[in-house]
C-alpha cells in the first residue's frame, strides 16, 4: 500500500479513511484506528510494517476503512505537506461560524 510520492524511508505510519464517515484515521499500536494522529504508530521495524500492511488490508476487507496507505514521517510528523495537513483538518471551515 503505497502512493506515488511515498518513499518508504524512515518511520512509517499507516493512514486511511473511515468507510462510513470518510474521516481520516491513522493506525494505532494495537492495529486499531484513531482519528487523532498523535495516537499513530510510527515505526521503522520491517516486521511491524509488514504486520501493519496485513492489518490494513484486513480492515479494508472488513469494510472498516477505505484507501489505506503508508506515509513517510520525519521527526514524528508526516513528511509530505498534504499529509501534515490531513492531521489537523481545514484551516478554515464555515461550520465554525454556524
Amino acid at each position: 500500500m503505497s502512493t506515488l510520492k511515498h518513499k518508504g524511508k524512515g518511520p512509517q505510519a499507516m493512514t486511511a479513511n473511515e468507510l462510513v464517515s470518510g474521516l481520516n484515521v491513522w493506525m494505532t499500536a494495537d492495529f486499531g484506528w484513531s482519528r487523532d494522529y498523535t495516537d499513530a504508530l510510527l515505526t521503522e521495524d520491517e516486521d511491524q510494517i509488514a504486520a501493519m500492511d496485513e492489518a490494513a488490508k484486513a480492515e479494508e476487507h472488513a469494510n472498516t476503512v477505505v484507501g489505506a496507505y503508508f506515509i513517510d514521517t520525519i521527526d514524528g510528523k508526516p513528511a509530505r505537506y498534504r499529509e501534515r495537513f490531513r492531521t489537523h483538518g481545514p484551516s478554515y471551515d464555515t461550520a465554525e461560524l454556524v
Binding site: V20, G22, R82, F85, G89, P90, Y92, D93, T94, A95
Partner: protein
C-alpha cells in the same frame, strides 16, 4: 421553471433506490471500494481530503425556492449547516457521511433534484448565463436549450463513458457571463443576417493544466439542428479523443492536435451521415420545454425607487449589485457570497432560507447560482429593492462587491480538496481583507481575481484579470501570478509572471499592481484595459518591485 415530468421523476427515484442498494452492499462488503467508487461518483459523491463530499446538481444554475430550502435542510440535517456554491453553479456539502447519502438523495428527489452529472467522464451539468430570462441584452432565454441538452445528455448511452469529463456552457447574450470560450462546447444564441435565431457553436475551450480558448465550430447553426450537431461532435470526440493519457483526453487536446479545420470536417461529415430526425426533438416538445421558462407576469407602471433619502450603504449596494432588467420597472439583484470573513461561495442554511423567503416575496420564487459563486434574484421590482436589501442585511448577505476586487472566485483548495497542492481560501480572505474598504473597491472598478489551489484550475485562475495558482514545494505553499486573463467574449489566458510568492508577499504584490494600475489608467479604463495597453513588462515590474 422546469418541473420534472413522470419520466424524470421515475428515473431519479429509481437512481436513488439503486444507490441506496449500492451503499448497503458497500457497507456490508458485497461491493468492494473498487467496485463502489465509480457508482458513488456517478451520484456526485467524492472522498475528499478530510471526508466525503456530495455535489448536488443545479441545472443551468436555476433554482426554485423549495429547492433552495431543501439544500438548507440537507445542510442542517446531514452536514454542518452550510453549503458551497461551485464554479459550475452546483452546491457542494463538505461533511456528509456515507450512510446518510441515500437519504439526502431521497430528500433531493422530492424537489426534482439529484447529484447526477456532477462527476465522472460524462456530459456534466450544463452551465448558463445567471441572468438568463432577465438580461436586457439577451436574444433569447438560453435555459430551454440548456434543459434540452440536459434531457438529451443525462442518459445518453453513447456518452456515459467519454474519454474525459465534458462541460457545456450556454448564453443568450453577446456579453458572455457564462465563460463559453472556456468550455468543451460553448453555445451562444445568435441572429443571422436573415434575422433567424440560431446557435454559434464553440469547441475545444477549457482550463485545467492546459488552458485553451475555444474556437468556432459553426458560426450559425439552425435551431432544429442543435442536438444532431452536438451528437455528431460528441461522436467525433468519443471516437478520436485520447484515452491513453488522462491529461490529454479532453476535447481541447483533440481539437488542437487535429486542427480546427480538420476537426470541423470530421464533425460535418458525421453530421451529414447521421439521421438527424432520429435525434432532433419535435417543435412541440421544444415548445413544451420553453413553456416552463416563460417570463413571469411582470407588472407595468412600477416606479423606480427614490434613492434620495436612502442610506448610503443601500445606495452603494444598489450601485454595485443591482443590474438592469429586460422588463421595465424590474431589476436583477446579485447577492454576494463574498463576505471577507468566509470562504467564497459558502452560504449557511439560515442564509439560504432567508434568500428563499426574499425570492418568494420579491422575485417570483426564482433564484440562480452563478459560476462566480454568488446568487441572483432575477426578477425584483425596483420599488422593492430596499426591502430586499433590508432582508439581506438581516441575513448578513449585503456585501456590495459584485465584479469588484472582493468578488473573488476561489476553489476549496487544500482546506478540503484531495487534489489541491496549496490552500486558496485563506488567500482569498487575505485579499478581501486588504481591499475591504468599499470606496477603494469602487475606485478600482471591475476586477476579477480567481484563485486555484492546484493546476486543475477549478478556481479559473487562467482567466482571472489577476490569476493566482497555489503550489507547494518542500512543505511550503507558494503562489504564482498570471495577469490579463479574461473569461468573457474577449476571452484570454492570463500571462504568467515570474517566481512565486509566499502568501504575505502575494498580498503585497497584488496591492502593488493594483496601485500601479490606479496610477497609470487612462480615463475610465478597467484594469484589463490598462494591462492590455501597457503590456506585461510594466505590470511585472510593479509586481516584483520589492522582491
Amino acid at each position: 421553471m422546469y418541473r420534472y415530468d413522470e419520466f424524470d421523476a421515475e428515473f431519479v427515484n429509481s437512481r436513488v433506490a439503486q444507490f441506496r442498494g449500492q451503499v448497503e452492499r458497500r457497507l456490508d462488503g458485497r461491493l468492494s471500494e473498487a467496485e463502489f467508487r465509480p457508482l458513488r461518483l456517478m451520484n456526485g459523491l467524492y472522498l475528499q481530503l478530510h471526508a466525503y463530499m456530495l455535489r448536488v446538481a443545479v441545472p443551468y444554475g436555476t433554482l426554485r425556492t423549495d429547492q433552495l430550502r431543501m439544500l438548507a435542510h440537507l445542510a442542517d440535517k446531514y452536514d454542518k449547516g452550510y453549503g458551497h456554491v461551485t464554479t459550475r453553479q452546483n452546491m457542494q456539502f463538505n461533511w456528509p457521511i456515507l450512510s446518510d447519502v441515500p437519504d439526502m438523495l431521497t430528500d433531493l428527489a422530492t424537489v426534482d433534484m439529484h447529484a447526477i452529472q456532477t462527476s465522472g467522464n460524462c456530459i456534466r451539468n450544463v452551465t448558463c448565463d445567471p441572468y438568463a430570462g432577465a438580461a436586457a441584452d439577451e436574444i433569447e432565454d438560453p435555459r430551454p436549450m440548456a434543459e434540452l441538452i440536459r434531457q438529451w445528455s443525462m442518459l445518453h448511452p453513447e456518452f456515459t463513458f467519454l474519454p474525459r469529463k465534458f462541460k457545456i456552457a450556454v448564453t443568450g447574450s453577446a456579453q458572455d457571463r457564462a465563460m463559453i470560450k472556456g468550455h468543451d462546447i460553448g453555445i451562444q444564441i445568435v441572429r443571422n443576417d436573415a434575422g433567424e435565431v440560431g446557435y454559434h457553436i464553440i469547441v475545444g475551450g477549457g482550463l485545467g493544466r492546459t488552458p485553451v480558448i475555444g474556437q468556432t465550430l459553426r458560426a450559425f447553426l439552425p435551431k432544429d439542428d442543435l442536438l444532431p450537431y452536438l451528437e455528431a461532435t460528441m461522436r467525433v470526440y468519443n471516437r478520436f479523443g485520447r484515452r491513453d493519457n488522462k491529461y490529454k483526453a479532453r476535447i481541447k487536446i483533440l481539437v488542437r492536435e487535429t486542427g480546427i479545420e480538420e476537426f470541423t470536417r470530421l464533425v460535418e461529415d458525421e453530421f451529414a451521415a447521421l439521421d438527424a430526425s432520429e435525434i432532433a426533438v419535435s417543435a412541440d416538445e421544444c415548445a413544451r420545454i420553453a413553456s416552463y421558462f416563460a417570463s413571469p407576469a411582470f407588472e407595468a407602471g412600477i416606479n423606480p425607487l427614490d434613492m434620495t433619502n436612502q442610506p448610503e450603504a443601500f445606495r452603494k449596494w444598489a450601485d454595485t449589485n443591482v443590474v438592469a432588467h429586460t422588463a421595465s420597472g424590474y431589476a436583477i439583484v446579485n447577492i454576494s457570497l463574498k463576505d471577507p470573513d468566509r470562504a467564497p461561495g459558502d452560504v449557511t442554511a439560515d442564509q439560504m432560507r432567508a434568500v428563499a423567503d426574499l425570492a418568494d416575496a420579491y422575485s417570483f420564487g426564482e433564484l440562480r447560482f452563478t459560476h462566480q459563486q454568488n446568487m441572483v434574484l432575477p426578477h425584483v421590482r425596483q420599488d422593492a429593492l430596499r426591502a430586499v436589501w433590508d432582508g439581506l442585511v438581516a441575513a448578513e448577505l449585503e456585501d456590495a462587491n459584485i465584479n469588484l476586487i472582493g468578488d473573488i472566485i476561489c476553489c476549496p483548495g487544500m482546506d478540503f480538496c484531495a487534489l489541491a497542492t496549496a490552500r486558496s481560501i485563506p488567500v482569498a480572505q487575505a485579499i478581501a481583507e486588504r481591499f475591504n474598504d468599499h470606496d477603494r473597491q469602487q475606485a478600482i472598478g471591475e476586477m476579477q481575481i480567481k484563485i486555484s489551489g492546484c493546476i486543475n484550475a477549478c478556481g479559473h485562475h487562467h482567466v482571472g484579470h489577476i490569476g493566482i495558482l497555489g503550489l507547494e514545494k518542500a512543505g511550503v505553499e507558494f503562489y504564482q501570478v498570471t495577469l490579463g486573463g479574461d473569461a468573457t467574449q474577449t476571452a484570454a489566458i492570463g500571462d504568467k509572471m515570474g517566481a512565486g510568492f509566499s502568501q504575505d508577499e502575494l498580498i503585497d504584490g497584488i496591492e502593488r499592481i493594483v496601485d500601479f494600475y490606479m496610477g497609470e489608467r487612462a480615463g475610465s479604463e478597467r484594469f484589463l484595459d490598462t494591462y492590455r495597453r501597457l503590456g506585461t513588462d510594466a505590470f511585472k515590474e510593479a509586481l516584483y518591485a520589492n522582491a
